[in-house]
Amino acid sequence: MAQKVIAGVTVDVNEEGYFTNPAQWTKDLALAIATEEGIALTDKHFAVLEFLRERFSKGEALTIRSVGNSGIIDIKGFYGLFPGAPMKKAAKVAGIPKPASCV
């Protein structure tokens, strides 16, 4: 298993940089990873990250539609927060594995 030092902390990641142990995640780490991805995190970002982490911990599928129905943000806004590939980027910043969902 690969490890990576982010903001002075050693965390377990896979070869693509996704956390393999979500319990190691902290807000400071999220800020550091987001900076690497070129994103400055706001409270809105954190609300989405917490939502994704909670869904993941319950074993629910991480779909873009579920984010849109979360009441936190609509889908267009989600694309705005994490430009390009929002699900993948958000999962990486949220310290959870890469989403395995097709929708």
Binding site: A61, I64, R65, Y79, P86, V103
Partner: protein
């Protein structure tokens, strides 16, 4: 030539059929591309136009006749003769739609809205619209334009671009 070195930048997806499975193949691939940050254009033509026609888009059917892969719930083969009974096609189609809902696969309109929200573009084929006597106002409001095939090809240029016919 490694695929990491030349990742897809644009996909142009053509949907020419109007059954649930054909339309969703195009929608899932389009939405998946948008989610990956790939520029996405979908072109609906012939019976595929049903997927972007207001009147038909949320009540698409699957064919219950002449589909050897069709199964009963439980896995037994679905006899073609059952498929011709009035109402069976509607029932099977409604069942399929509810199964998809359980997997968080949205109805057609919502799916198109998701694709649009991510920057995907939806187009309709002029020739097929003339054939089916459809007007722009009959179509879903998110349809960006009605195009000739030549105009569509003009949009499909560029390196690392694929045209996909579902």
């Amino acid at each position: 030539m490694a695929s990491e070195e030349f990742p897809l930048k644009k996909v142009c997806i053509i949907c020419a059929k109007g059954t649930i499975e054909d339309v969703y193949a195009a929608l899932v691939m389009s939405n998946g591309a948008v989610m990956e940050g790939i520029e996405t254009k979908i072109f609906f033509t012939f019976f595929g136009l049903d997927a972007i026609t207001k009147k038909t888009m949320n009540s698409l059917h699957t064919g219950t006749v002449g589909n050897p892969a069709m199964r009963m719930p439980g896995g037994l083969p679905f006899p073609t003769i059952l498929g011709v009974i009035p109402g069976v096609e509607s029932g099977v189609s409604a069942m399929m739609r509810s199964q998809m809902e359980k997997l968080d696969i949205p109805p057609v309109t919502e799916f198109l809205e998701m694709i649009e929200a991510g920057g995907g573009e939806v187009y309709a084929c002029k020739l097929a619209m003339d054939m089916f006597k459809l007007k722009k106002e009959d179509l879903w409001d998110g349809v960006k334009a009605v195009l000739t095939v030549g105009q569509f090809y003009e949009m499909c240029g560029g390196l690392q671009t694929q045209i996909i016919f579902t």
